[in-house]
Symmetry: C2
Subunit: 128 residues, 2 copies
């Protein structure tokens, strides 16, 4: 499933906040930038069309929508294709780039060293 930027942004709202009605989603997005209700509703309609959102129930004529796909299921191919596109699928240049260009604290570094070490142990186990 391929989502546009805006569609993905709306999905994030559902992943963060759970099931919502269209007016509620509009309110969340509109807090950050000016956007018409019908614009948000169009995106919701398209997400429903793509079966990324489903109708869970109604309050009167107001519809409660819920995410029908997980964040991970979408992120995974997105990250993969992004690394493919920018770094030829290799993690080394990705990490090089991030360490060089993205701001990081010493705590972030310590955290990354920790999870890297876990990964190393896991790979060593699997080797046997």
């Amino acid at each position: 499933m391929k989502l546009s930027d805006f569609e993905f942004e709306v999905m994030q709202v559902f992943w963060d906040q759970g099931s919502l009605t269209a007016p509620e989603v509009h309110k969340v997005i509109a807090e950050q930038r000016k956007v018409a209700y019908s614009t948000v509703k169009t995106i919701i309609d398209r997400l429903e069309e793509k079966q990324a959102l489903v109708r869970e129930r109604t309050y009167g004529r107001t519809i409660l929508y819920g995410a029908a796909v997980t964040r991970e299921s979408l992120s995974k191919p997105m990250v993969h294709s992004f690394i493919g596109k920018l770094f030829g699928g290799n993690v080394r240049p990705l990490f090089n780039h991030v360490l060089k260009e993205e701001s990081m604290s010493l705590e972030d570094v310590a955290y990354l060293q920790e999870i890297l070490d876990q990964k190393r142990r896991k790979l060593e186990e699997e080797k046997e």
Copy 2:
């Protein structure tokens, strides 16, 4: 400067191989998938319009194009906005995701530990 997927793909060819003519670019891309010459040329035209490519000289009526922007200058904002979009701008969930979902060898892990250690030392220096 915002480039489409295909436009970025063509830029990669220039970054990898240096200056090229349109037929040469077409040949490179066509090795990987079926695409008409005029399709590739349209993308080159659009890249010229966006000033990502420049005409360097001509051989007869054939034009030699060259990249007018660096890979880094485009990758940097792309990576940054991607991390922003998927991981709220935090490197930790990015690394978590990559370590979990992307395939990596023990050598990759060792390499990452190495550059992380360099990063740690650099940050510690700067702290003082």
